[in-house]
């Protein structure tokens, strides 16, 4: 990895870490369960890496095995993202119901 690219990516990393700490620091305790679930759903974004791996060119070196592993990763990450989204949505519905009663 080139040093300039690495420094640039590290800069993004550090800023995002500080942002993550601050952004939900004052969230009410009631919302913690859906927040865990929602951020779990966002970690399904690893599907991007999986897609790029699953699309490796055919017949070059070890690509075929790697692409198959990538394909399995796409499915797992998609389950994580989609089910996480639906679950979080249902959790928030529950809270909304509670508030009205």
């Amino acid at each position: 990895m080139e040093t300039t690219v690495l420094t640039f990516l590290l800069l993004i990393l550090v800023l995002a870490i500080f942002l993550g700490f601050e952004i939900i620091a004052r969230a009410p305790a009631l919302l913690r369960a859906p927040l865990v679930s929602g951020s779990n759903s966002i970690s399904g974004i690893t599907v991007l890496g999986a897609i790029l791996t699953a699309g490796l060119a055919k017949g070059v070196g070890n690509n075929d095995v790697a692409a198959l592993l990538g394909g399995i990763a796409v499915a797992l990450a998609a389950i994580n993202g989609v089910a996480g989204f639906v679950l979080t949505d249902r959790m928030l519905d529950l809270f909304r119901g509670k508030d009205k009663n």
């Binding site: 990895m1 990516l9 993004i12 990393l13 995002a16 870490i17 942002l19 993550g20 700490f21 952004i23 939900i24 009410p28 913690r32 369960a33 859906p34 927040l35 865990v36 929602g38 951020s39 779990n40 759903s41 966002i42 970690s43 974004i45 690893t46 599907v47 991007l48 890496g49 999986a50 897609i51 790029l52 791996t53 699309g55 490796l56 095995v65 790697a66 692409a67 592993l69 990538g70 394909g71 399995i72 990763a73 796409v74 499915a75 797992l76 990450a77 998609a78 389950i79 994580n80 993202g81 989609v82 089910a83 996480g84 989204f85 639906v86 679950l87 949505d89 249902r90 928030l92 529950l94």
Partner: protein
């Protein structure tokens, strides 16, 4: 406009939707729109990634997306309310396994040209992916009382065993990163992958069921670290931003939950490695397993 420029602009917008999404999810009245906004950002990022010129075949990609989305939709809808907390754990395990597989595939396809930095991020992605997977699945199994006892497991010398596993992961990782093309590199990879699976189990077996939601939250932030390392491996800034947000917000949530439980945070972070005085929690602070900390 070049395609790669378009992809990067959409990645930038997606990163903004994740940040806004998190922000909005922290307030009761805007939580749902926050979730929706980050969902839109995620779908947009997937669509532009599908247009990437580096994708030379689509069969695995499309099968994976369709099968995964169908299963995910079903799992999300069918899970009864009482079982939601453990389902979050299981899903987190799937995400961890996905990051591990990406790291493995990347190493399998391009062992050369990783360099020491590449070797280190590959190691981080594989280790955090693998331990998130096993830890989350065991957490789920214990909360469901499937395959595993729901009781906390402690044995003498437990901290020593966990520390030895951690040491093994560090040593094999350093050997691996020093030379990823060496004939032994694959063996090193296998060693730390398996040891990380064991470490994931060691991280959760001693945690009581009432405290498991906190551990699930911490494991969620570990999967964020795995995503982040995958981002460095593939030099994808969106993965780095999303992974770092998940990781650091997860740690901040874990610290808050610890405060509520009257537990030291070190119990969850280091409890597997250091003997920790067991402070009993008063019953009224002790939430039922299906009833997440609130």
């Amino acid at each position: 406009m070049e395609l790669s420029t378009l992809i990067h602009i959409v990645y930038l917008l997606s990163a903004v939707t994740f940040i806004l999404g998190f922000k909005l999810m922290g307030h009761p009245e805007s939580a749902k729109s926050g979730l929706l906004i980050s969902g839109v950002g995620m779908v947009a990022a997937v669509i532009v990634t599908l247009m990437d010129v580096h994708i030379e075949r689509y069969e695995y990609v499309l099968i994976g997306i369709v099968v995964g989305a169908a299963i995910g939709l079903r799992m999300g809808k069918k899970t009864p309310e009482s079982k939601m907390p453990q389902m979050v754990g299981l899903l987190n395990g799937f995400g961890g396994l996905a990051s591990f597989l990406v790291a493995w595939a990347e190493f399998h396809a391009h062992p050369e040209g990783q360099g020491v930095t590449g070797g280190l991020v590959l190691w981080l992605a594989a280790v955090f992916g693998s331990l998130t997977f096993s830890g989350s699945v065991v957490a789920w199994a214990r909360m469901e009382e499937k395959f595993f006892s729901s009781k906390a497991i402690t044995y003498s010398g437990q901290q020593l065993v966990s520390s030895a596993i951690l040491l093994g992961i560090l040593v094999s990782g350093l050997l691996f990163a020093a030379d990823t093309v060496a004939p032994e590199a694959y063996r090193c990879f296998a060693v730390f992958a398996v040891l990380a699976l064991l470490l994931g189990i060691a991280l959760v077996v001693h945690i009581s069921l009432a405290e498991m939601p906190v551990m699930v939250c911490l494991l969620n932030s570990y999967s964020g670290i795995a995503v982040c390392a995958t981002g460095f491996l593939l030099q994808n800034p969106l993965l780095i931003v999303a992974g770092a947000l998940v990781a650091s917000s997860g740690i901040s949530l874990t610290l808050n939950m610890c405060k509520d439980l009257g537990r030291r945070a070190s119990y969850f972070f280091l409890g597997a490695f250091v003997v920790h005085p067991h402070t009993t929690i008063s019953p009224q602070n002790n939430p039922a397993p299906g009833n997440k900390t609130s």
